[in-house]
């Protein structure tokens, strides 16, 4: 155990976390330069493009320290977004230390602080890394001062590095060995391990990623997941290099994987505890939560012919994404699709992008909704996350909506703007505190529904990217909900319906009508767009008809050409959705998901 170190790298976005991971991996020679793609750990295209890590990857780096001893350094990568804060916490719970990467020219930023607190919560030893010192604007002294004042850490052990140029990498590896404690644990105790991730291999089934806390595990062991008492026989255990390397045994302190004929990743739970079925440990690891989708949206293929492909793609994604849930849904305007549940908006976007990119599907998604509690006149409570299923208001006694506690860490100059944004979103400011002379945390209680509608983008824009945001669901509170419908030339477009707070209905209706007016092309007749609550029209926009669309000449040589043009148009129209007599493009459905700012 003394020759193992388990650690994560945490950072504000763009401070160089992934590049540093890459350099650490490269410096230990387990991957040839030829096979090396930048940012080795971010394997999904989307992650590489957005520069964020969603699906965490883990790797075991062999390293010979200056003391001549061969160490195994387990680098546990973490996803980088609030939707996945639970997954981050499970990864950190598997470590003894963390490298906190700070950009030498940007200094300490909001997520630096948020991430540091998360690491401290798990009693991790933190090594500050001042990265990008090669930049002309690097200011190492300033960053060291901030580490002391803003983070309350000793800047003494901080390591200056340039991951891009490979500077400081040797010092970092040595510090991991000398400064981070080895794992604690009792190899003789009953087997106990924490699941921090899982992925799916089409040939082997679910690969469970875990950290052994106590005891040991071998192939053919009978194991049990403590959350649901499900039992499996272990087929293989091993450690992560770039590929999986099978081992005879994994013992206390080690990080690795197991394969046990588990069909889908949904059969495993991040944060769950694994033990021996025959000789279980006393208690599970604390902090386990079931993945609970909080944001719901319907997804429809733009071309209705693609429904089977969408079904197939969701099934495949689900294999690798335990948090994703879905069921069949149908819309008059859009045909067959799926109602899906997500951990948050980013999760939704990631799923949407993966479906579009990896499965080449073109999608229409409906406005995200939260799950409401609806108390009916017969005293039953119905849970509603789909506007299409919203009951007739005459039968509703009360509606309740989920609230969150949002923590926003920001430079104090954005305090006013954040206050305005949160109050506009029906928030209540419950607390604020200063971390340093100009850095603060603001705490709000906010309806989750207000957050799923474009909140994060707005927060980023009003704080120029400095504001970081984290949230927990707290409770359900009474609300005044209405179902907002949209009609196009008198025809209700079910896929555009939204559940909104009564006070917000008119503004949302006007804004949505305006967006639709911008996105729906002119027709050969006038198109009226209306927003309505119940039978009452509360917003209206009109698209005037175009006046002329006719080819002047059509003689012998024009016929084939014209027909080909018409065939092409016909194909293009397959991508448009008909709402009664009006053609609505995909872009119109997507435009209503965001505010214009």
């Amino acid at each position: 155990m003394n020759r193992i170190r388990n650690f994560s790298i945490i950072a504000h976005i763009d401070h160089g976390k992934s590049t540093l991971s890459d350099r650490l991996i490269q410096s230990t020679d387990i991957v040839s330069a030829r096979d090396f793609k930048d940012q080795m750990l971010d394997t999904m295209d989307i992650e590489r493009e957005r520069g964020i890590t969603i699906k965490s990857q883990t790797i075991c780096l062999p390293y010979t320290g200056s003391d001549g001893v061969l160490y195994n350094l387990n680098l546990i990568d973490t996803p980088g977004h609030v939707d996945f804060s639970y997954e981050v916490s499970r990864a950190l719970a598997s470590c003894e230390g963390a490298l906190l990467v700070i950009d030498a020219s940007q200094g300490v930023e909001a997520q630096t602080i948020a991430n540091m607190y998360l690491a401290l919560e798990h009693d991790l030893v933190i090594i500050p890394i001042i990265n990008k010192i090669d930049l002309p604007s690097a200011d190492i002294d300033m960053v060291k001062a901030q580490i002391e004042s803003d983070l309350g850490l000793d800047p003494g052990p901080a390591i200056c590095a340039s991951a891009k140029e490979g500077k400081g990498i040797a010092d970092i590896l040595e510090a991991v060995v000398t400064q981070l404690p080895p794992p604690q644990g009792d190899a003789g105790a009953p087997f106990k391990a924490l699941i921090f991730d899982s992925d799916y291999d089409p040939y082997r089934g679910t690969i469970v990623h875990f950290r052994v806390i106590d005891g040991s595990i071998r192939p053919r062991d009978r194991i049990m997941f403590m959350s649901n008492n499900a039992e499996y026989i272990v087929e293989e255990v091993g450690i992560f290099r770039i590929a999986r390397i099978p081992q005879k045994v994994l013992s206390a302190g080690q990080v690795g994987y197991l394969i046990a004929g588990i069909k889908t990743v949904s059969d495993t739970r991040c944060g769950d505890t694994i033990t021996h079925a025959d000789k279980p440990c006393d208690s599970a690891m604390p902090g386990f939560k079931e993945p609970k989708p909080v944001v719901f949206s319907s997804m429809y293929p733009v071309s209705t012919d693609d429904y089977p492909e969408l079904k197939d793609a969701l099934e495949k994604l689900k294999l690798n994404d335990a948090a994703l849930i879905y069921e069949q849904d149908a819309s008059a305007a859009l045909g067959f699709g799926f109602r899906c549940g997500f951990l948050g908006l980013l999760h939704l976007e990631v799923v949407q992008e993966r479906l579009e990119r990896e499965y080449d599907l073109s999608l229409i998604i409906t406005a995200p909704s939260v799950k409401y509690e609806v108390v009916m006149s017969d005293d039953t409570v119905t849970l509603i996350d789909n506007p299409a299923l919203y009951p007739d208001p005459v039968n509703i006694v009360q509606t309740r909506e989920p609230y969150i506690r949002a923590s926003i860490i920001t430079p104090d100059r954005y305090m006013g703007a954040i206050m305005n944004l949160c109050l506009e979103r029906r928030g209540i400011n419950t607390n604020y505190q200063y971390f340093s002379s100009n850095r603060m945390e603001m705490v709000f209680e906010l309806p989750l529904a207000e957050v799923v509608y474009d909140f994060y983008d707005r927060l980023k824009s009003i704080t120029q990217g400095y504001g970081s945001f984290d949230y927990d669901l707290i409770d359900y509170r009474t609300t005044d909900l209405v179902k907002l419908d949209f009609l196009v030339n008198g025809e209700r477009v079910d896929a555009l319906s939204q559940l909104v707070h009564r006070d917000k209905a008119t503004a949302r209706a006007r804004q949505t009508c305006k967006k639709l007016r911008e996105e729906i092309p002119r027709h050969m007749f006038k198109v009226a767009i209306q927003g309505a609550v119940g039978g009452k029209i509360i917003a209206r926009e009109t698209i005037s008809a175009f006046r002329k669309d006719v080819t002047a000449k059509c003689y012998g040589g024009d016929i084939s050409r014209k027909r080909k043009l018409l065939e092409k148009q016909k194909k293009g129209k397959k991508r448009m959705k008909m709402a009664g007599e009006v053609m609505i493009p995909q872009s119109a459905f997507l435009s209503v998901l965001k505010t214009s700012e």
Binding site: M524, K548, D549, T551, A552, C554, I559, K562, L566, E567
Partner: protein, 384 residues
């Protein structure tokens, strides 16, 4: 045996030569006149071995380019050739497109003697400034002279082409042009909205910002004025851009394009529609001559539209004509009722005043519908 089932065919003869190429024209033509003789020889060759339509042709149409650049002798040779190689009908409409800058009284008489019985005079406008913008080789008074001379030469079936929507001109001006045209009491008028086709010099000028095309509202006004003025003057609006004084003066040849009748296209870039197949000749006159004179087929490409494609053509072309889509003929031809395929759209478009049903079996564009013919066709075609 001349009477056979099916629609009579037409013969189109393309003459790709011009004194000067007009900057708006995207028909194939060249200004090098040295090859006219060998081109005419090639036409006669092509006639000899081309695919013949099932039903005897009853029209010959000389289009261009500028067919009136040819001598009456050449025109005569080609007409004679058609009668020699095709099983021509007894009553043939023989049309010549005439550029006012290429004819005088004696040439017009000679064309008549050669067998031409219908003239389409490419006046385009009577306004010198507009003609200048269009790059025409003639002015307004030459256009008027050509029309008068045509009548004096004994032609009764005379039509003129006019272009509206010339950038920088107002709707009022167009009405004046129409009145001038009406003063000649001609049996046929074609009024085309200027279309600035990609690849033409005019298009490049527009791209370079030398002028802006007329706005959609003005273009729509111009089309409405055309329909109103010519309706009042007693013209039958028998196709989007074509107006005839009496049914007998419709272009028998051009109607073949809109009714799906067969036609044989002779010459460079000419298109044919024979026995369900559409094909087209090589575009270049030189290559055409070379191919034909060495005994090769000038056909450059061909296609046989499938049922759906034939339906698209039937809808698009049918709507352009005053008679509209004949739902009985449609059902006979395709085995499916119009209502079954298009019923919902027809209802929508009728409700918006764009379509109407006539004589209870024809689906026709209303006047408003004619302004949006392509869009209306697009909606119907979306149902196929």
């Amino acid at each position: 045996m001349k009477a056979m089932a099916g629609k009579p065919a037409g013969i189109y003869v393309h003459i790709p030569f011009c004194v000067r190429k007009c900057p708006y024209c995207d028909f194939y033509s060249v200004a090098d006149l040295s090859r006219i003789d060998s081109y005419v020889d090639a036409l006669l060759h092509e006639m000899a071995f081309c695919e013949k339509p099932r039903v005897c042709p009853d029209t010959i149409y000389f289009g261009g380019g500028t067919p009136s650049i040819l001598s009456s002798t050449m025109i005569g040779r080609i007409i004679d050739g058609a009668f020699r190689f095709f099983d021509m009908s007894d009553n043939v409409e023989v049309t010549l497109e005439v550029n006012p800058g290429t004819v005088d009284a004696s040439r017009l008489s000679a064309f008549r003697d050669a067998g031409i019985n219908r003239l389409i005079i490419g006046a385009q406008s009577f306004d010198d400034e507009k003609l200048n913008f269009l790059g025409r080789i003639h002015d307004g008074s030459e256009a008027k002279t050509a029309i008068r001379e045509a009548g004096r030469a004994g032609f009764e079936n005379i039509g003129i082409d006019l272009i509206c929507g010339i950038p920088g001109r107002e709707a009022g001006d167009w009405e004046k042009e129409l009145k001038t045209a009406l003063s000649f009491s001609l049996p046929h008028l074609s009024c085309y909205m200027l279309t600035i086709e990609p690849g033409t010099p005019l298009y490049s000028d527009m791209e370079d910002g030398r002028f802006s095309p007329v706005a959609e509202n003005l273009a729509a006004d111009l089309f409405e004025v055309t329909m109103e003025v010519l309706d009042r003057a007693g013209y039958d609006h028998y196709e989007i851009s074509n107006f005839a004084k009496m049914p007998g003066f419709r272009s028998r040849h051009n109607c073949k394009y809109w009714t799906g009748a067969p036609y044989v296209g002779l010459g460079a870039s000419a298109h044919s529609h024979v026995k369900g197949e559409r094909y087209w000749n090589v575009r270049s006159a030189d290559r055409y001559i070379a191919r034909v004179s060495s005994g090769l087929s000038p056909v450059d490409g061909k296609e046989r539209p499938d049922t759906d494609q034939q339906m698209i053509e039937a809808v698009y072309l049918g709507l352009r004509a005053a008679e509209g889509i004949d739902s009985r003929a449609f059902e006979l031809r395709f085995g499916r009722a119009c209502n079954e395929i298009f019923g919902r759209e027809i209802a929508t478009l009728s409700r918006h005043g764009l379509l109407e049903s006539c004589d209870d079996n024809r689906i026709c564009l209303t006047r408003q519908g004619k302004l949006k013919a392509d869009a209306v066709a697009g909606r119907l075609i979306g149902c196929i």
